[in-house]
């Protein structure tokens, strides 16, 4: 699991809104996040293999129409920029007329930790 994803989950837990990961069972009151890893995305292939592995995921924010947290979206985007730099985008915004909830979705890509340089006599120049 990429460390950036873990950092995102940790950062969301620090904010006052509840966090639920993929597979959650209960729907919290008020605003809440759902964060999940979808799978591989945008890996760099070369030399008959995968040079850099990257993982795609998404962050969903649900919030009711009348909320005292007007800065929720800006705050979330600040967290995303801090962790992922520029490798995220706002994918969609929706309004559920049935439940009266707004739904904002961000998509991010997280890189795997690079493999440590192999050490040993074979690699000695």
């Amino acid at each position: 699991m990429p460390s950036e994803y873990e950092a995102l989950v940790a950062a969301l837990k620090l904010t006052s809104t509840p966090v639920a990961e993929y597979g959650w069972k209960t729907r919290p009151e008020g605003a809440y996040y759902v964060v999940q890893l979808d799978g591989e995305a945008g890996s760099m292939d070369g030399d008959s293999g995968k040079l850099d592995r990257s993982w795609g995921g998404s962050l969903d924010l649900y919030y009711p129409k009348l909320t005292d947290r007007d800065d929720l979206i800006e705050e979330t985007e600040e967290i995303l920029t801090e962790i992922f730099g520029s490798s995220w985008y706002l994918n969609s915004t929706q309004y559920e007329s049935g439940t009266g909830l707004f739904h904002v979705e961000w998509v991010f890509e997280a890189m795997d930790e690079p493999d440590p340089e192999p050490e040993g006599e074979e690699n000695a120049v």
């Binding site: 209960t26 998404s58 969903d60 649900y62």
Partner: protein, 160 residues
């Protein structure tokens, strides 16, 4: 005495360039048609992997799409939009935005609404982003197929 210099074959090259300019849009459209077909096929494959559960109202938490909803998505299939031509540029989109309506539990509902609920998730539906997965896995294949098609067409053109 002045020297005379002459370059042969320029007329052929200019004729070839002119021909390329005339045929570029046609070749691009053919390549795009191939690529769009691959993407549509990839979305169909991805839609088959949607997890389902028998329908029940999500009173607490979320629910999975019902088998009937999945059937509607599979039956509708991803469509290819009309090609937009702008100079030598051609573009299109693949998706469910003009998939029409379907009957679900005695009510007529728009197919894009059902697809969006499964793909993006709602407060009561668990999210299964199958279109993004298809995009991630299918776009390298589609790009390679389009590149092949264009190279083939130019080879055929230069050989004549």
């Amino acid at each position: 005495m002045p020297y005379e210099m002459k370059v042969d074959g320029m007329t052929e090259i200019s004729a070839l360039l002119e021909k390329m300019e005339q045929q570029a849009t046609g070749i691009a459209s053919q390549a795009l048609y191939d690529g769009a077909g691959i993407m549509a096929e990839e979305i169909r494959k991805s839609a088959e992997s949607i997890k389902t559960a028998p329908f029940q109202y999500a009173r607490e938490g979320t629910r999975l799409p019902s088998p009937e909803e999945k059937e509607i998505v599979l039956a509708a299939g991803a469509g290819i939009a009309k090609f937009n031509k702008n100079g030598t540029e051609v573009d299109t989109s693949v998706g469910y935005s003009s998939s029409g309506y379907a009957e679900l539990n005695g009510k007529v509902k728009p197919v894009p609404l059902i697809v969006n609920a499964i793909n993006s998730g709602t407060s009561f539906m668990q999210k299964q982003p199958f279109i993004r997965k298809a995009k991630n896995s299918g776009s390298p294949k589609a790009m390679a197929a389009m590149k092949n098609k264009i190279e083939e067409a130019f080879e055929a053109m230069t050989k004549k």
